[in-house]
């Protein structure tokens, strides 16, 4: 019976003269999300976005797709009555109330709009007549124009559109309106969630993954591709840079103090990620770090890691507990994939007692031990990186 959806958006409404940019972006994101499941028609008109569904569309599938589009604050299922005859319209709205409300004993008001001003009734007339009709048909209904439990919207265009319910959307901003950032994506639980969080604020996402064959397997890489694929439902297509990190890691292992391995390794990851970020016009790096979760995520460690970056590093999960992150990961359905037991390159070569309060100067001194050779290794890692397009 539902044949269309009205998309509501909240924050975009705050924007000034560039408002149309956000609205167009949202329209495009909605269209792209729906293109994956069928031939939907998405139009932006009069300060809102309207989705017309194909005949064979599935209600749940459509709602699920729309709930993944950032910028959408509400999704209103709309019933279309194929007529402009007043008797058909009242009958249709009556049938709507009968079908979609179990008991017809609420307070309500009718809100009417007519696109064509040629229609013989004005909007207030439509409201009044429709209200009277409904009161006659459902005696337990009561009108409350100030605080109704249900607002029944009736819109007359070339057909008649009826809606009264709103399903919450994910809110946030349309992806792409906030520039682009480079996500350091691992196979863990946190980084895919960080990617989701940054995308929610309208930021498009590219990703860099570091693998260390033969210490990590093809399957570990596949897992990261799978994770990128899952979050691309929210972020849109992701360009994933896969960097072979083995030689750099081995060089650090051979030359540097073992308790500093992880910090130094992360500094090189940041450097490489930043290289790709700048090349792709990303304006920031994004990581899944959260204060104190592991040795490399103490404030001292974050300071030491951060010191190599020129771009700002955003850490959307910085104040989250593990359990809170897991809750989001489960909602995104990345959790099941993240916990597949393939090692990533952070978990090999971990020192038994890694330093938790590194001093930047010491770390920099240790890196000197890598000498000039590291530049060549970095260069090779960057040159040999593989680009995978996901989503």
């Amino acid at each position: 019976m539902y044949r269309a959806f009205l998309i509501k958006y909240a924050e975009i409404g705050l924007k000034g003269k560039n408002r149309y940019i956000f609205e167009n972006a949202l329209r495009d994101r909605v269209q792209a999300a729906l293109d994956r499941i069928g031939r939907y028609h998405v139009v932006r008109e009069q300060g809102r976005i309207f989705v017309e569904c194909p005949e064979d569309s599935d209600y749940d599938e459509t709602v699920e797709a729309l709930q993944k589009v950032f910028g959408v604050s509400g999704i209103c299922p709309v019933v279309v009555i194929d007529s402009m005859e007043w008797d058909d319209i009242t009958g249709g709205v009556g049938a709507y109330v009968e079908e979609f409300y179990e008991e017809q004993n609420f307070t309500f008001k009718v809100e009417a709009k007519r696109a064509s001003k040629q229609y013989p009734m004005t909007s207030p007339e439509i409201c009044a007549e429709m209200g009277a009709y409904l009161l006659g048909r459902f005696p337990a209904l009561r009108v409350d124009v100030h605080h109704p439990e249900v607002s029944i919207h009736v819109e007359l265009r070339t057909k008649t559109y009826v809606y009264s319910k709103t399903i919450p959307g994910p809110c946030g901003m349309p992806v792409g309106t906030g520039g682009k950032a480079m996500l350091l994506l691992s196979g863990g639980i946190d980084s895919p969630v960080a990617g989701y969080m940054i995308a929610k604020r309208g930021v498009a996402v590219e990703a860099t993954y570091f693998h260390a064959p033969p210490y990590t397997s093809e399957r570990a890489k596949q897992k990261v591709v799978d994770l990128a694929r899952i979050i691309s439902d929210y972020t849109g297509p992701i360009r994933l840079h896969v960097v072979n990190f083995t030689d750099i890691q081995l060089s650090i292992y051979e030359n540097c103090p073992h308790e500093e391995l992880t910090i130094i390794m992360r500094r090189y990851m940041m450097r490489i990620a930043e290289h790709f970020a700048k090349k792709s016009d990303c304006l920031a790096l994004v990581t899944g770090e959260s204060i104190g979760q592991v040795a490399s995520q103490t404030l001292q460690s974050l300071l030491a890691t951060n010191a190599v970056c020129g771009l700002p590093v955003f850490r959307p999960l910085i104040g989250f507990d593990k359990q809170e992150i897991v809750t989001i990961a489960k909602k995104l359905k990345t959790f099941e994939t993240s916990i597949e037991p393939y090692e990533d390159c952070c978990t090999i070569f971990v020192a038994k007692h890694p330093v938790t309060k590194p001093v930047l100067a010491d770390i920099e001194k240790s890196e000197q031990l890598l000498a000039e050779k590291i530049d060549g290794l970095m260069e090779t890692a960057i040159q040999t990186a593989e680009l995978i397009r996901v989503g």
Partner: protein, 386 residues
């Protein structure tokens, strides 16, 4: 160069198998249950395959039930027997290191109120005969022992074990998971006291998704799949004609010039063991003296100071394909049950690889693999966790 030394995981399909499968898919594609000629034609493939399988075991075609592979054959043997015999007794016995497709159905049966015992094995992977006999009770209905272990290649003296079990309780049925043994040994169930025997097609150059269960005439088991009553009601469902035809062809081929194939494999095995012994910090597990006391196609070796998964991937980069533990359990990393069961040193459990051969394996593949190992081990040992 490539060296595929993971034939205990799966083997390449032979040309003959591929051809007959193609024919049953594209030309003779009928449903064997159809009453018309197309059905008859398809049925002929089933009959031929059953005859080949029966002949290889010196059994009758009606003693063969085709399944979707070793796992289903094991499930049918264990659950089917337990259900059929449940009024006589509810006790079943298996070896400590059975394959998951024996272990898991047994744990399921335990949940359903059956009583399960696992008999331990020694350092060579052999079931202790006296320990086994001591477990047999008047209400024991089934003993299931793996013919050849999939991870270390240990072979059981099935005839002796079955005889001892049946001497203590003649009513016990004897099942053997012969997935790794079939095609390597000439098995004679009736002589060896085997009532049920599981076979998989893709370990002998047949297709994946093929296999059969031998059920000695006179043994009654219940089906575990219900439906159209195909295969005398024991395995409902339209027969997978291409897979069964392929399996039949693989069975015929594998037992052609069998003795020479097997002695060649033992040659390969000795060759690899020799090459491994020349490398420092390498031990070969569960080898027997003489070498023909263990399976011809499996070598298990432990590499001190190297994690098996890392070594596996390093070898893979150089075109050498092997297994850590067994491929079937590698999806659920964890320590191999077989290696623990034979009492392998704790620090070697996660440092062990399995090399396995087929009739297609060449000596230069083994040389190549050994060469790569020789190069990789010192490099990888430099980077072990300190």
């Amino acid at each position: 160069m490539e060296a595929y030394l993971d034939n205990a995981a799966t083997t390449r399909v032979s040309d003959g198998v591929r051809e007959i499968m193609e024919r049953t898919m594209a030309v003779d594609f009928g449903n064997p249950s159809s009453k018309h000629r197309k059905g008859m034609e398809a049925e002929r493939y089933l009959r031929d395959a059953a005859e080949q399988a029966a002949k290889s075991l010196r059994a009758e075609p009606k003693e063969i039930v085709f399944t979707s592979g070793g796992t289903e054959a094991n499930n049918l043997a264990l659950i089917g027997t337990a259900l059929a015999m449940r009024r006589r007794g509810k006790h079943l016995i298996a070896a400590q290191f059975e394959h998951a497709s024996v272990n898991s159905p047994l744990l399921f049966l335990e949940e359903m109120g059956f009583d399960i015992d696992f008999v331990p094995v020694d350092g060579q992977g052999h079931v202790c005969l006296s320990r086994l006999c001591s477990l047999v009770r008047p209400d024991t209905v089934l003993v299931s022992l793996m013919y050849v272990n999939n991870e270390i290649g240990a072979v059981q003296d099935i005839a002796a074990l079955s005889a001892a079990v049946k001497k203590k309780n003649p009513g016990v049925l004897f099942h053997s998971d012969a997935v790794q043994a079939y095609g390597k040994y000439r098995i004679h169930p009736k002589k060896e006291g085997i009532d049920l025997l599981s076979v998989s097609g893709h370990k002998i150059h047949g297709p994946k998704g093929s296999g059969f269960l031998y059920i000695r005439e006179g043994v009654r088991i219940r089906p575990i799949l219900w439906g159209g009553g195909q295969q005398r009601g024991l395995r409902s469902g339209t027969e997978n004609v291409p897979a069964i035809a392929g399996l039949g062809c693989a069975v015929r081929e594998i037992y052609e010039e069998h003795e020479s194939k097997i002695s060649r494999m033992y040659g390969l095995k000795e060759h690899l063991i020799g090459r491994l012994a020349a490398l420092p910090g390498v031990t070969v597990n569960a080898v027997s003296e003489p070498i023909t006391g263990c399976a011809p196609h499996i070598v298990s070796a432990s590499f001190e100071g190297v994690r098996s998964e890392v070594l596996l991937h390093a070898l893979e980069e150089r075109g050498v394909y092997v297994s850590s533990g067994s491929a079937c359990s590698s999806n659920h990393p964890g320590i191999s049950g077989s290696l623990r069961a034979i009492g392998l040193r704790e620090d070697l459990l996660d440092s062990t690889l399995r090399f396995s051969f087929s009739v297609y394996t060449r000596e230069n593949e083994i040389d190549y693999a050994a060469l790569q190992l020789g190069e990789l081990l010192p490099v990888l040992r430099r980077y072990t966790k300190r």
